[in-house]
Amino acid sequence: MVYTKKNPAPLILGVVFLLIAVTLQMGLQAGLVEYLGIGKKTAEMINTSYVAGIIGVVAGIWYLVGTHREGHLDYYASTVGGVLFILVIAMVIRWYVAPWVAVMSKAMGPVMGDKHLHDVLGLNYVVLGILAGIVVVNVFKIPLWAENGVRMSRLGLKTGVILLGTLYSLAELANLGRLSVVLIGFFVLGSVGLVLWMGRRRNIPNSMGGVLSAGMGVCGVSATVAASPVVNAKSTEIAYTIGTILLWGVGCMFLFPVVGHLFGMGPVQFGAWAGTGILNSAQVAGAALAFQPNGIETLKVAEIFNITRVLFLPIIVLWLAVWYVRREAGAEKVNIGRVVFEKFPMFVIGFILMFALSSTGVFAPKQHYKGKYFDNNIKAEKMLKSDQVATLQAEIGSLQRNDQRDALQRLIDNKKVMSIDDDDTLRGVVNTKLLSKDANGVLKGAHKAVRHTSKKIAAFRDWITLLFAFGLTGLGMQITLASIKQAGGQPLVIGGVVGTAKAVLSLIVILLFVHETI
């Protein structure tokens, strides 16, 4: 079968991207940029649009005039149209629609404390992108030329998770890993056990109990897909389960950020809660980015939980396989080695590899944290001037603590911050406003001079944001209302009870025991 269709759409999309880039560069969108407040995004808009535009034009010409023959090249070429299709929707929403929604929302004034409607409802580029994807697939349908490319959104998400590996410190990864193993272990095993117990009480078939427990317990649709063949699930049981999970997942993606803001949760608490309480792993990332659209701290926490969940998947599949064989005469015995090998998520290895590379200092000095690092080997013009030294000298006596006085004295003597510890101590002086405004200004400048951001890590952060925006918009295009409508029967009852219990109990546990500092 030849997949590449002779269709002008990819070429048109390429031209659209080029038009965005050129009109931005020529300043023709200046009024719009100012109205939407997207000045900081223009570099991203121009660069991304040029890259996507050139790819679109080249691929579009190939689609139209190339000779397409069956084979791998044809299949991979056929995905370009769909990738551009997702990208144009995701980026138009990120660059224009979401900022416009924010402008409108701000014009309405605050609705909850100092928060505006779009903050409370999490109406940012991620949520709007997923919604746009859902609308496209259910109202307009995915065009034939884009179908293969839409599946590439999974690759986008996996690549995003792999790149995320560059942003963790060893201590952070270890602490989050421990926390996630405890929470996920308890709630995953608890949910699986509860579904199996309720299933027995309500007399549902073992195959349905098995597939539902995997879906409700581990990572939603992904677990259902992995567990269905193992427990010989019937087609209707699969449909009920996937429908129930999608209904819950999409609902939670919108509800969780609102609840998170209501409880004043921080990135660690919310990321942990979303990663534990939301059934479907794709919606975990969606909820994390909906909660914190302009930073990826919440996503970082949530994805560690997602990775822990997916590492639990082979264990749960094995458990269900053994459980099913014991209960059903004639059930096929499972090959443990094959299950572990096949279900192991290879992208997790990529994530670990990127983390390891980042720790060796390939992308930024070893001691970097989130791409920021200390280096006081600075040029003379960045060092303190004599008037600045005099300002600090005049106020050093007002500091009571010896460590603060010593750090400040070293700064005065050397005209630059001498160590990370000194930098931290002086940041404390600034934050507690012990000195005058002028002196604080000098300290801030001294801090800025020795704190650097790795360009490579900053680029990774931008890529991660774009990859998740792309991936989640594409995933939205795979959520059909026809699937969600299948939610029903016993799975909906059991899923409702277990899903609610998991969300509420994990919220209580996290609010009580998980602190923001990791």
Binding site: S235, E342, G476, T480, G488
Partner: protein
């Protein structure tokens, strides 16, 4: 009143089986019963938004699901075929993937049928897949008489 060529849409639910029974009573001796089995297109979206699994697992699931649906189709076909041929009637089978009403309209347009028989919509509260025959689309587009078998008593 009996007919020579009957098109019956059935996917083995209680309502569809009522349609099969009615079609058998309406089919004249030596007549032919064309069995249309529609696999609703909702299955296309059933991989949902699974992104964590690798291609091997997704492929295994796809084949498993295809096998399951294939088995269900075979069971329905074999049961009705035995019933039809046991009565000395001719049996034809086809399955299509898509929206039930559209598939039925296409099948009705392609064959030389005298009448179309379908089951009544599933009563509310009854378990089953949410993939209903859209009657308005069907009756607007159908050029043949349509008979709807009453839903069986619960």
């Amino acid at each position: 009143m009996q007919f020579k060529n009957i098109l019956v849409a059935s996917h083995d639910t209680p309502g569809a089986r009522a349609a099969e029974r009615l079609a058998l009573t309406l089919c004249e001796a030596g007549g032919s019963l064309h069995h249309l089995y529609v696999v609703p297109d909702l299955w296309k979206g059933m991989l949902g938004d699974d992104w964590l699994n690798n291609a091997v697992t997704q492929d295994r699931f796809g084949k498993y699901l295809e096998g399951q649906l294939g088995r269900e189709i075979d069971e329905a076909r074999q049961r009705l075929q035995a019933d039809v041929e046991g009565r000395g009637l001719r049996y034809h089978f086809e399955f299509r993937v898509g929206k039930p009403a559209h598939c039925l309209l296409e099948a009705a347009g392609e064959g030389s049928h005298d009448i179309v028989v379908i089951g009544a919509p599933r009563p509310k509260g009854t378990e089953g897949l949410r993939s209903r025959m859209e009657l308005e689309i069907l009756v607007r587009g159908l050029a043949l008489p349509l008979v709807i078998a009453p839903a069986p008593a619960q």
